[in-house]
Symmetry: C2
Subunit: 205 residues, 2 copies
Amino acid sequence: MDKPVATTRIQKRNVSIISEAALEVFSTYGFRGATVDQIAREAGLSKPNLLYYFPSKEAIHSHLLTTLMDVWLAPLRDLDASGEPLEEVLAYVRRKLELSRQRPRESRLFANEIVQGAPHILELLSTELKDLVDEKAAVIAGWMDAGRLAKAHPYHLIFSIWSLTQHYADFDVQVRAVLGPKVKDPTREAGEYLEVLFTRMLKVD
Amino acid sequence: MDKPVATTRIQKRNVSIISEAALEVFSTYGFRGATVDQIAREAGLSKPNLLYYFPSKEAIHSHLLTTLMDVWLAPLRDLDASGEPLEEVLAYVRRKLELSRQRPRESRLFANEIVQGAPHILELLSTELKDLVDEKAAVIAGWMDAGRLAKAHPYHLIFSIWSLTQHYADFDVQVRAVLGPKVKDPTREAGEYLEVLFTRMLKVD
DNA sequence: GCCGCATTTGACCAAAAGGTCAAAGCCACG
DNA sequence: CGTGGCTTTGACCTTTTGGTCAAATGCGGC
């Protein structure tokens, strides 16, 4: 299940090459759809060599998922209870959207996993993820109670931020198909739109 | 690629049984992750019998996607240019959310397909889907120009409705993991939240 | 109740997939 | 510059998978 503890220089390099290749392949085809041969080819290694660094396909996948979970949650972690409420939420939206733009493969990796019922990380969702959301939802609820933010369901507010920002990574092909080839950077337009959306939603008059 | 023209009673019944089973399996495991044996088992048929009705796994999948596309777009089709703008948009949101609640498998079928780059329906997205969205975005833009709806990017408004409503079907396990077992019907809460969100977003003062 | 066509199936096949293994190659350190 | 452990690989194994086929079964109209 675990990656070997990378001690030597070669180990570090190869574990990282494999992770990169696996991210590419898993995010495109999902767990079941990806093949070890494909990952090995992408990494420029032979299959037995790849399996020398990770004991199984599952192990690579779960290594990716757990490693990237932190990256994925960082923007929410950075939501600062002592900041100015509306600006804090908007900054969170911006960070999350930026992450979607810069790391669409990570977004799709999680999307594939969760759409298919999160068989490999269900545990993490109801512990690490839930705990963090509980904490931040409480912060947001506090701001609302204090009249510093318009009232709304804090959990669903967070869900809506996830949903909207990740949409532009996960459903990229659909967004581009609908907007047509003229729009070069859908995510930039999205940024402007989301700024407006959450401002109107949360600003206290 | 196509399902056989179902003429006899038995053909109609079996094509429909297979479609139902395939929807269940494809929506859970994605195209590559689903197996023909699995679909056959779910349908209560032998594999060769199933392949008597559809020439290949691909054929079943693309039959589902094209058949269900209409169902999926119906709520948007029903957006009525002659209705009251805000109420029309809110009604659209309600219809779409209701569809997510009642047909989550269809939602996940499309989600799987699109997250993986829409290899089987890219064509449909840039024709049928794009045409419909172009038409309805124009209606919405018209309302905004007439001052009957607060201004916002019409295409991204539609994307945000898709994103938010489908989130509760596609990411159901995540939503439930975060909300905990006490919340029995996340989609109901979501309905109230989305009503507020789009009202604040679109209402003209 | 018989015929022809629709339907069903067990047995089979080739390709692809995850994974193993023993042997060979390579590198670093004494 | 040789040795011991790290790294790499070709060959191989088993299981799974999509798909085929000839033969058997069943159904509806005459």
